[in-house]
């Protein structure tokens, strides 16, 4: 039995999809607990797994800690709860009354009895506790068992847990359980959302950003690092490769047909990202592309950029409208930063009329003029690594 104290406040963290796992479940749970531990660490929280719940106690700022834990992938919801001894039912009643005395409207009690040996069954707890609370708060509370405005939950486990608010969290799977992938992070609206979506499935991210100084500024780079920082809250840290890209863009601009410059540039970005992914032990690439959004995202252009790498390329936004992506970005908190007005590497050399239906021969003709291996090697070698 945990804790000798009679009563204390803690966070009860519930997980979602991990329930569906069979023999692998301990592996996922271990990862989840570790991620919650990392999230609670700045708040001094103690974290443990018990009886199908993760608990966090002793944090110095409960509210901030909860907000942080709600961002951990794999967490379904978080409840600030009161833990107390289950044998003293009178004390439970008094605590329930305390929690409901300032609440107005309709309510019900919802008991869950994980300890089947407990001396009352769930319906009895509901009735007894409901009656106790109602008698003392009749002027502002009414019972509605079908559509209550407030639910007072009681879980009888090794201890009793009372809570009346459930805060939904991000869901998904704990980061680290789904391998590692490299995200092409531009600074626009789409790529952070794409990274978020894949990370949510438990994938650890490493970001690759292309920097075109002096065509793009230190501010533009900082903006990307700020975006990576926002993602890193969800992703348990983030490593960003800032790849110097100006020389490659200049070579392409000078030697390749104008309408193919964007496409060839994208092919280089994919090649470099794959090179970095391999170095980092990542097994896939992630991009924020969506069919037809811009010239380099037509079906033909996607084929042309896809064909230069052998790794799978995840494009979680492929079927999304721009407005949906913007909504998503607002939800995860990257939108405002993405909208800062710094030029990014993709727009610097945009041709007036990029090829939307590129021909393989013309791509080859352009690329043959470039010393591909040397350019890529130099870019990867000179990449600045920022750990967030």
């Amino acid at each position: 039995m945990k804790g000798k104290k009679i009563m204390r406040k803690l966070l009860m963290v519930r997980y979602g999809e991990i329930y569906l796992k069979g023999l692998n479940r301990p592996y996922f749970l271990k990862a989840l607990v570790n991620r919650v531990k990392e999230a609670a660490k700045p708040f001094g929280g103690r974290v443990w797994l018990h009886d199908a719940r993760v608990f966090v106690s002793d944090m110095n700022d409960a509210e901030a800690c909860m907000e942080r834990v709600r961002k951990v992938f794999g967490v379904h919801s978080v409840c600030p709860a009161i833990e107390m001894e289950k044998d003293n039912f009178q004390a439970i009643c008094e605590q329930a009354n305390e929690m409901m005395k300032d609440v107005n409207g309709t309510f019900k009690v919802e008991a869950r009895r994980a300890d089947k040996r407990y001396f009352m069954d769930s319906p009895t707890i509901n009735r007894t506790l409901g009656e106790y609370v109602l008698e003392r708060n009749e002027d502002h509370l009414k019972v509605d068992v079908h559509h209550p405005e407030h639910v007072l939950s009681v879980e009888i486990r090794d201890q009793a847990y009372l809570y009346c608010k459930v805060y939904l969290a991000v869901g998904g799977m704990p980061v680290g359980t789904g391998g590692k992938a490299a995200l092409l992070l531009s600074g626009g609206i789409d790529s952070p959302v794409a990274g978020y979506m894949i990370a949510k499935r438990g994938v650890q991210l490493v970001s690759v950003h292309y920097h075109s100084f002096p065509y793009t500024s230190e501010f533009a780079k900082q903006k990307v690092l700020d975006l990576a920082k926002i993602l890193s809250d969800y992703c348990c840290g983030m490593k960003v490769y800032v790849v110097p890209f100006t020389e490659i863009q200049m070579e392409i601009h000078e030697k390749c047909p104008e309408d193919y410059t964007t496409l060839i540039m994208r092919r280089y970005m994919m090649r470099i990202a794959e090179r970095i992914a391999k170095k980092e032990g990542a097994l896939a690439l992630i991009t924020g592309e969506s069919v037809g959004q811009v010239a380099s995202q037509t079906m033909e252009a996607l084929n042309a950029t896809n064909s230069v790498v052998s790794m799978p390329v995840f494009r979680p936004l492929i079927g999304f409208d721009k407005s949906d992506i913007m909504d998503y970005a607002r939800k995860i908190g990257t939108y405002e930063t993405s909208c800062l007005p710094y030029e990014d590497c993709c727009t610097v050399f945009t041709p007036k009329h990029p090829a939307t239906k590129p021909k393989d021969e013309k791509i080859k003709e352009g690329e043959d003029k470039l010393d591909q291996e040397a350019l890529i090697e130099k870019a990867v070698e000179n990449a600045e690594i920022v750990i967030l």
Partner: protein
Amino acid sequence: MPIYLDNSATTRPCERAIEAMTACMREGFYNPSALYAPALAAEKMLRRGRELILSSLHAPSPFRVIYTGGGTEADNLAILGVLSGVHGGGRILYGAGEHPAVKEACQSAPGFEAVEMPYDREGRIDLSALENLMIPETKMICCMQVNNETGAIQPLSEISRLHARLCPQAHFHVDGVQGYLRVPFDMKALEADSYALSGHKIHGPKGVGALVIRNTVRLHPRMVGGGQENNLRSGTENTPGIAGLIAAIEDFPKANQLQELKMHLWQCLRELIPGASVNGPAPDSEYAAPHILNVSLPPVRSETMLHALEGEGIYIGMGSACAAHKQKVSAVLTAMHAPRHLAESALRFSLCPQNTMEEMERTADCCKRNHAILSKFQRR
């Protein structure tokens, strides 16, 4: 050592200002409104600063000095503080290339019609248009002394004459933030009613400035509270800032080489880069401020050249630093009808007396080298 040529954005505080501020914080920190002797010393320092500012502007006694939290506050106080005492609306005139601190204040004055005074191709107010614009209902005229982007000295005496003839009731406010001490100014001769200045543009600290205003003008405070500054700007006086401002004014060299430095930079640029052209009055003209040179080096875009120079330790500006993150093409150059390719490649070099001829040469040389490389790689 980096070369700093963005002095219109802000300047490096001079040693004397830093020393004066440090001393003020260490020893002279007393509240000027307090009743013991050291507080009186602080009060005397404020008084000395007011006299210094008035004499630097040839403003005799009917003018007063109100210390503010900078140029923007001084402009706001003059414009909105005067207009809130004017009933029945009317017209406000402001130059097409005014700083946002003036433009936005004019546009936000409730019940008034804010009208732009157009610029000519040199970036000066087009006097031929003023006859029609200055109607008798004009309640305020706002004009900057020197344009912050092009260095164009505005035709203040001509405006003053028209003002006296066409709408003598209007308040005439001059935004002197970019001109103060670098271009002579005579408040009395110009019959200006108010003048705004800022500390950090003249090697003083940020967060301090002043409004010089005619005593007879009815001014409504924008900040109320303890009634400091004759009830016109409440809040304990920023004594360290004001100490720094005073030191900076005293330290600013009256005889300086700004004009020679600017001409040297321009001659080097013109020699090395054939397509170079000036935005604003010709650098040797009497209408060009000695410390600002706005040059276009097409086809290289402003931002690209700025960062290329940054890469070599040379810091310059593109336009108003306050607007650099907001808009692509400068509002001032647009008001001058500058062709788009020139507006998009405009660079602002703004100098200070500490710059050297050698720095001008290195800067021009660096522009030439980067221009040769970058002009090949521009958006087609």
